[in-house]
Symmetry: C2
Subunit: 316 residues, 2 copies
């Protein structure tokens, strides 16, 4: 691997889209200089297991173990446990793969034994040979809650998986965020970073619940490095998932200028897709226009290279 | 199905051998008149899951779902979770199948929610369509402990599975038995039973930890029905597992007269294999000599029929 940069890079990432760019970054940045700060607000408990979907997606993707079809879960997984649960009359709505269960069982057991989520995540990631460092933004419970028109208030996974993000969203909030605090490790990484990248994750459901943890916004505002966001939108649409629908329901725009306003005071530049080139002139911060769709591993690495090269220029 | 008896039958059963005869009994006794009292002293916790190996073996076998090759576990199961655990650097020594995990997850979750082991077992068994009723002897923790020459004191599963019952046993005891009490359901079943059968399970590791729970021995001594044991030994050997080796190490004999002394005051008859016919004359209680090996489902039903017919005679 030829390292594109010797900078200390911190990426903020949610699920599948964020994990893809994080994978690209991991091919360009020496392992000891890359930190991914992960969203924990979509964590939940199912059948007594502590499940951290976003952390797992980043971990599996960077370790090269993710299911290439879905972007989440493990390649080559099976669903025997779920099939048997159904036999017991359960109606499982969350896809827990048999291999994936090992992760949840170990995490749950280690948390119960008193380890922090940060320690558990480090152990799991190290065992899988994941490059870089994956830090949950906080060790305390923060949970994204979604108030919907049709079903009232739903936990995030109920909204996202059980109801397939079809309900109309009135409001999103991050339960527990007020009382939580970012880990020292996450805050130190942000303070020491030369480059901070908001990966192309859902702004409201993945990036914001990281920013909402006390300490993070302040650390970003006091940054010594350069912070850029990569837009998850292409030509006015989300690449995957509910981001465009949701942002519309919340009255938030998804054009590049809208995103810059959303992240005001936090970012020094925005990366947008070729499809949004026409709006580049209206942006209040420097903009990199480049293909942002990541279909192959080569795409992920290419986008990471482009972003890192561009940021080096912003630096100077 | 032609019911062989209208008697209320209670079977005491441990693992594979006991489950086989219980399966046979379930083909001969109306479902609402059959109760199996199961051993819980081999229960243990692994990866945070409450595992009840003996209860599961009986439940799977009676529901027709057991792995026919091993006698325990589920037919058609796979080991993806374990494979992934190994990838995490764990060295799993207990075979947790992927389908089997559904049972452990539900049990653990329901116990944590405050249900008793009796209630949990009933729910699981009902969902699987298990004929008869399966009752853990107690809802309180009783754990078989094995003091060995080579490894000191081991929990039962460590002795049995991890060390493949190879260590030399000095002593066996049932931790928690003194403070436990048999459930009302189990005691009522014993009191109401017309027929009680000690299935061909390991006397020290399967039947004794049932008898050791306060209330059981007294209920058996005060029985209104007839109680018989089916010897798990054939020609001076255990059909499966460590029973002969273990009994020898503990200075206990395994001939029919030895078994009758072991169960003195509790049984009114003993069922022994053809191979032990020569010792029938030395027995202090009535003896049925019949083939006791159960290789096929037909064997199981045949032995159950034989035992039930014979007991009807003892009755009169």
């Amino acid at each position: 691997m030829v390292h594109v940069t010797e900078s200390r890079v911190v990426a903020l990432a949610g699920g599948v889209g964020g994990a893809k760019l994080a994978y690209g970054l991991a091919q360009c940045v020496p392992s000891e200089r890359l930190t991914v700060i992960g969203n924990v607000a979509d964590d939940f408990t199912l059948y007594g297991l502590h499940i951290s979907p976003d952390l797992d997606t980043v971990m599996y993707t960077l370790a090269g173990l993710a299911n290439p079809k879905t972007g989440w879960g493990l390649a080559g997984d099976s669903w025997q446990m779920l099939d048997m649960l159904t036999r017991y009359g359960e109606q499982p709505w969350f896809r827990l793969g048999d291999r994936d269960l090992a992760t949840h069982l170990l995490r749950t057991q280690w948390l119960a034994a008193g380890l922090s989520l940060t320690e558990v995540t480090a152990r799991l990631a190290e065992a899988l040979g994941m490059p870089g460092r994956l830090l949950p933004v906080t060790d305390e419970p923060v949970r994204t809650m979604v108030e919907t028109v049709e079903h009232g208030t739903l936990g995030f996974q109920e909204y996202f998986v059980r109801h397939r993000w079809q309900p109309t969203v009135r409001q999103v909030w991050y339960q527990g965020a007020g009382d939580a605090r970012a880990t020292d490790a996450a805050l130190s990484a942000l303070r020491a970073a030369d480059v901070i990248v908001f990966c192309p994750s859902n702004p409201v459901l993945s990036i914001e619940p990281i920013l909402a943890v006390p300490g993070v916004r302040q650390a970003l505002q006091a940054r010594r490095g350069v912070c850029v966001a990569v837009s998850p939108f292409v030509g006015g649409k989300a690449v995957k998932g509910p981001a465009d629908k949701l942002m519309g329901e919340l009255g938030l725009g998804i054009t590049p200028p809208d995103l810059i306003r959303y992240y005001v005071g936090l970012i020094d530049g925005l990366v947008i897709d070729e499809a949004d080139r026409a709006l580049a002139g209206e942006c209040a911060v420097p903009v990199l226009v480049t293909p942002t769709l990541m279909r192959s591993d080569a795409d992920k690495v290419h986008l990471a290279e482009k972003v890192l090269h561009w940021v080096e220029g912003l630096h100077g």
